[in-house]
Amino acid sequence: MAHDATTSDASTTDSATADSITADSTRTESKPMTDTLTLEAADIPSTEVEEPSREASSIEMQGLHKRFGRNTVALDGVDLVIEAGEFFTLLGPSGCGKTTLLRILAGLEEADDGRLAIGGRDVTEVPPHQRSVNTVFQSYALFPHLSVRENLAFGLKMRGMPPEQREARVARIAEFIQLGDLVERRVDQLSGGQRQRIALARALVNEPDVLLLDEPLSALDAGLRSQLQVELLRVQKRLGMTFVFVTHDQDEAMVMSDRIAVLNGGVIQQVGPPREVYEHPANAFVARFMGHDNLYPIEARDGDRLTTPLGVLSAEAAGEGDLLLIRPETLDLLPGEQPGDNRLPATVTERLYRGSHAEYRLEVGETTLQATLNNRGRRLPEVGDRVTVSVAPEDLVTLSE
């Protein structure tokens, strides 16, 4: 049954070029994955109890610098502590240095300056093959001339584990990722989702102190991707391993991470739990990268009363910054003109209906404001309607450019 599903999805995904076919492959891919989820409880004793649980490792970075060539600065002084057992995400646009940082953790790149310690041991100068760190590469980087089994066994073999023990571990991890019946296949006979899981298993089977993941889900289509996000998160929680995850997708980062570091231009902009980074971005870059558009300069302030192009608004605890952030989902739209404190008269200029919610573009005087409202079934404002925007003082956040 499971075998049929996996073989058929190998063929469908290989031929998947058009969007319609991709959607179909998602459906067939999902089969073994749901099996994994239901089998999870049964898996725990076989994968966990036999191995003595190991201490997860923390990572400490101090003043890491890296430049490529004469002009490209990849990392410009990174200080960061990643706690043991944390799911930590490096988030940023392409070229921000997140992948370089990950490669330095793996030992594939050497920092020009600074120190790196993993599990309390200084590994700044330690070559990659002597670090208890494994990577899931963006391109998977599986060995095409080896079978799935040989790919999975590679790390254990290099570390000199005796064959019987090695085979047992490989068989167990192959079972764990629901690819037990594919171990004799060659890698090029597998679908994208299967390769992704093999890449993950090839790293996990070594039980490293730290697992590094370089945008491992970026090559997959949306449905499969969100399923693997959940799966990855569960694996991490179960193994208690330190995961360092690189992505440019802020939604993915928020779903998965215990903490997020947002990078730009080789500098860490903010480190914190997803909620903090999203709701209290440290600066305009982080705010924009997390998807916020409602940023307004503060022209004057009188205590907690802030004058902005939208009008005068009172914030509960206005900070120091010179920018006001209004998250679209904190806004409420009232029909007609209903003046009051923290209420702004506006005109609806655009409405994007998204089913569960609707996004509005509003004009407040000359200024544009975005609002997102849950669709609870009440009347939705139409384009051209006069409305009143209402916002609670505790939802207003100030930040600096």
């Binding site: 030992g107 070559p127 990659p128 002597q130 990577t135 980087a141 079978s147 290099m158 570390r159 070594n206």
Partner: protein, 307 residues
């Protein structure tokens, strides 16, 4: 070709037209191959089984005499001369191909690491010497290695050769000539393999606890294997049948199978024996190719890497 006999009513006109079109496209090449490859080979086969006539030309009746002589059975009983020639050919091929691999591998790697705009120039430098006639280049080596030249004097000074002997003529000179001559044929396919090397695989190997040496062996070497085996085929087959280099640089001491065959068609004047030698070379080549395929398949994990 038999479509002409089928009535057009039996199949659609389009198919007939297509087959005729195909026939006209393939015919020139096919005729060429028949005239210049199939017929001569058939003739050679035939000659090998004929009797040697008084002027070295083949005559009837058919016999296996040439093969007996090739195996060393002559008027004076068995002599190992031809066997030595065969073994020398195999040995020279093996050694020179091995040396070509050792020299070409780092060169190809180095070129692939150069800046992109330098690479064509570097490749050109590798290839340019082979634009000169092989005979002329071999004469060049004669001048370089002859007794009294700086290289020979140096070898003499180091006690590697007897005084006044010179590096040429010798088996060493033949090996050197072969390596020099076939280097580009190995560098080019290897370079092609190195150029499309997937470095992520190398990094994955290092990440999975492979030391630099083992990462090379498990992640770099398999990727260059198709290029390497293609190069070995390109080098070993012509080297095995080489005539010019052993003739000029071996000075009669380094005779290879190619020289044995050539002699039978000229001075030796024994066409059937020459033809038998040519067939032996052909068989040896096929055995070698078969072995390469097997090796390639095993190392390449079941993939067809050779031919």
């Amino acid at each position: 070709m038999s479509y002409a006999g089928v009535t057009p009513s039996a199949r659609s006109r389009a198919m007939v037209r297509e087959s005729r079109h195909l026939l006209f496209t393939v015919a020139p090449g096919a005729i060429w191959i028949v005239i210049f490859l199939v017929l001569p080979s058939a003739y050679l086969m035939g000659v090998a089984f004929m009797t040697n006539g008084p002027y070295g030309l083949p005559e009837m009746p058919l016999s296996l005499g040439s093969f007996e002589r090739l195996a060393g059975f002559g008027f004076l009983g068995w002599s190992p001369g031809n066997l030595y020639t065969l073994l020398r050919s195999l040995w020279q091929t093996l050694v020179s191909t091995g040396l070509v691999v050792l020299v070409a591998y780092p060169i190809a790697y180095y070129i692939s690491t150069c800046r992109e705009r330098w690479r064509p120039i570097m490749l050109l430098l590798v290839v340019v010497p082979s634009w000169t006639n092989q005979v002329i280049r071999t004469f060049g080596w004669m001048n370089l290695l002859a007794p009294g030249t700086p290289l020979s004097s140096l070898a003499e000074g180091l006690g590697l050769i007897a005084p006044n002997m010179g590096l040429y003529p010798s088996n060493f000179a033949v090996t050197l000539g072969l390596v020099y001559n076939f280097l580009p044929f190995m560098v080019l396919p290897l370079y092609a393999a190195f150029e499309k090397l997937d470095t992520a695989q190398v990094e994955a190997a290092q990440d999975l606890y492979a030391s630099p040496v083992r990462a090379f062996w498990h992640a770099v070497f398999p990727q260059t294997l198709p290029g390497l085996l293609a190069g070995v085929v390109l080098v070993a087959i012509p080297a095995f049948g080489m005539y010019v280099i052993p003739e000029l640089l071996g000075g009669g001491k380094g005779m290879m199978l190619g020289n044995l065959v050539a002699n039978q068609f000229s001075g030796g004047a024994n066409w059937p024996l020459g033809a038998a030698g040519a067939i032996l070379m052909l068989i040896a080549t096929f055995i070698g190719l078969y072995a390469m395929r097997r090796i390639g398949k095993r190392l390449g994990g079941g993939e067809e890497v050779v031919i």
